[in-house]
C-alpha cells in the first residue's frame, strides 16, 4: 500500500479572518424596541395615575369635614353673594334640609347649606363643604314636599357618604400625579379635569344607588311612606322627553328607570310602603 505523499504547507500563524456582523448590535429592530419599552412605560404611568386616583378615593373619607368646609368657604361666600336675595323657597328648602339632616343622623360638625338658584336649568347637586345647589328649573317640576325631600335627601346622602370629597380628591391626585410624572404632558390631564373641583361632580353608579337608599330611608322616617318620593324620577323622565332642553341633572344621573326599579326592590325588602298621603308644598 502506497501512502499518498502530501506536501503540507502549514497555514499562516497570524491571520485576521472576517468577523460576522450583528453580534454586538442589531438584535432588535429599533422600532420594535421602542414599541416594547413604550408599552411598559405607558402601563407604568397608567398604573401610577390609576393607583393615585383610587388611593385618594379610598383615603378621602378619612379627611375631617372641617377641611372641606375651609376649602369651600370662599367659594361659598362668593356664590351666596351672587344669589338672588334669600327667597322664600330658599328658606323653605333650608328648613326642610335641616329636618332631613336630623333624620339622617349626620356626624358631628357636618352642616348642610342649601342654595336656591333662580335659573331655568333642571338640575341639583351636592358639592364639597356640605353645599347643595337647587335650580329653579328642577324645583318647578316637583309638586309635593315628598319629592323635594327625596331630592334633598339624595344630595344630603352624598355629603354624608363623603362622595364629593372622594370624587374631588381622586381627580385632584390623579391630575397631580400626571403632572409630576408626565411634566408638560400633565396639561392634558389638567384639561380633562379642569373645573371638576367645585362644580358638578360625577359619582359612580354605586354611590348614586346608595344615596337613593339613604334618602328613601330618611323620607320614610319623616313621612312614614314613600308616596310621592319617586315623583322626582318620573318628573325627570317626563322632562327628559323634552329633546330641546333635556335636564342637566340626567347628564350626571343616568339610568333613571333602572334606579326606580332598584329602589322599589329595596323598598319591598325593607318593608317600606308606597301608600300614604302626599304632603303639599307650602
Amino acid at each position: 500500500m502506497v501512502l499518498p505523499i502530501c506536501v503540507m504547507t502549514s497555514p499562516p500563524k497570524f491571520t485576521n479572518p472576517k468577523v460576522p456582523e450583528g453580534i454586538s448590535s442589531g438584535h432588535d429592530h429599533p422600532l420594535v424596541d421602542v414599541a416594547k419599552s413604550s408599552a411598559i412605560v405607558i402601563a407604568l404611568v397608567a398604573a401610577l395615575i390609576g393607583g393615585s386616583f383610587f388611593a385618594a378615593r379610598f383615603a378621602a373619607p378619612y379627611l375631617p369635614f372641617s377641611w372641606e368646609q375651609a376649602l369651600t368657604r370662599q367659594v361659598a361666600q362668593r356664590t351666596i353673594a351672587s344669589e338672588a336675595a334669600d327667597t322664600a323657597v330658599g328658606t323653605y328648602l333650608q328648613a326642610l334640609a335641616n329636618r332631613i339632616a336630623a333624620a339622617m343622623d349626620l356626624p358631628d360638625g357636618m352642616t348642610i347649606t342649601v342654595h336656591f338658584l333662580e335659573d331655568d336649568t333642571v338640575n341639583a347637586f351636592a358639592t364639597l363643604g356640605g353645599h347643595i345647589f337647587v335650580f329653579d328649573g328642577l324645583w318647578q317640576l316637583l309638586d309635593s314636599e315628598n319629592a323635594v325631600a327625596m331630592l334633598l335627601g339624595h344630595e344630603i346622602a352624598h355629603i354624608k357618604n363623603r362622595d364629593p370629597i372622594r370624587s374631588a380628591s381622586g381627580a385632584l391626585l390623579a391630575t397631580l400625579t400626571a403632572g409630576a410624572v408626565l411634566g408638560d404632558a400633565g396639561i392634558l390631564a389638567n384639561l380633562a379635569g379642569a373645573g371638576s373641583l367645585v362644580t358638578v361632580m360625577h359619582f359612580s353608579r354605586a354611590q348614586e344607588a346608595q344615596a337613593d337608599i339613604d334618602a328613601s330611608a330618611a323620607v320614610v322616617g319623616l313621612y312614614g311612606h314613600l308616596n310621592g318620593a319617586t315623583d322626582l324620577f318620573s318628573a325627570l323622565q317626563t322632562a327628559a322627553a323634552d329633546t330641546i332642553r333635556p335636564p342637566a341633572f340626567l347628564a350626571s344621573h343616568p339610568n333613571l328607570s333602572e334606579r326606580i326599579a332598584e329602589l322599589e326592590r329595596r323598598a319591598v325588602a325593607a318593608g317600606w310602603t308606597f301608600a300614604g298621603e302626599k304632603t303639599p308644598l307650602p
Binding site: P11, P12, K13, F14, T15, N16, P17, V19, I23, S24
Partner: protein, 108 residues
C-alpha cells in the same frame, strides 16, 4: 472556549492568531433601581442592584466576544481586557476584547 487575560496558557501553545475579537453591550438601569440607589446614597454602602446589573452586562459582553471568536474558529481568547464607558446618566457601555487564538497541547 478558554478566556484569559494572560499572554500564554500553561501547557498550551498558540498555533494561530486570529485577530482582535470584541463584544459589547449598552445597559440601562431602570427607575426602580434608581430609587433604591438614591436611598442607598444617603447611607452609603454597596449598590448591590447596580453591581448585579454591571456584572450581567459584562457577562453579556464576554458572551458576545466568545461568539465572535467561535465564528473565527478559535478555541481561546487571550489578553482579554475590559473597558467601561458611560454614555448618558444611567446608561453604560461594557466592552470586552482580546485576541482570538487556536491553542493546542504543548508536549513540553
Amino acid at each position: 472556549m478558554i478566556v484569559s487575560n494572560m499572554e500564554e496558557l500553561p501547557g498550551q501553545r498558540v498555533v494561530r492568531h486570529l485577530g482582535v475579537v470584541q463584544g459589547s453591550t449598552v445597559q440601562a438601569k431602570n427607575v426602580f433601581r434608581d430609587i433604591g440607589a438614591s436611598l442607598k446614597n444617603l447611607i452609603g454602602g454597596e449598590l448591590r442592584a447596580y453591581t448585579d446589573l454591571m456584572n450581567s452586562a459584562r457577562e453579556e459582553a464576554i458572551a458576545r466576544m466568545k461568539q465572535e471568536a467561535e465564528a473565527l474558529g478559535a478555541n481561546a481568547i487571550l489578553n482579554v481586557r475590559f473597558a467601561t464607558s458611560t454614555i448618558t446618566q444611567g446608561a453604560a457601555e461594557l466592552l470586552a476584547y482580546g485576541t482570538a487564538v487556536i491553542v493546542e497541547e504543548s508536549p513540553e
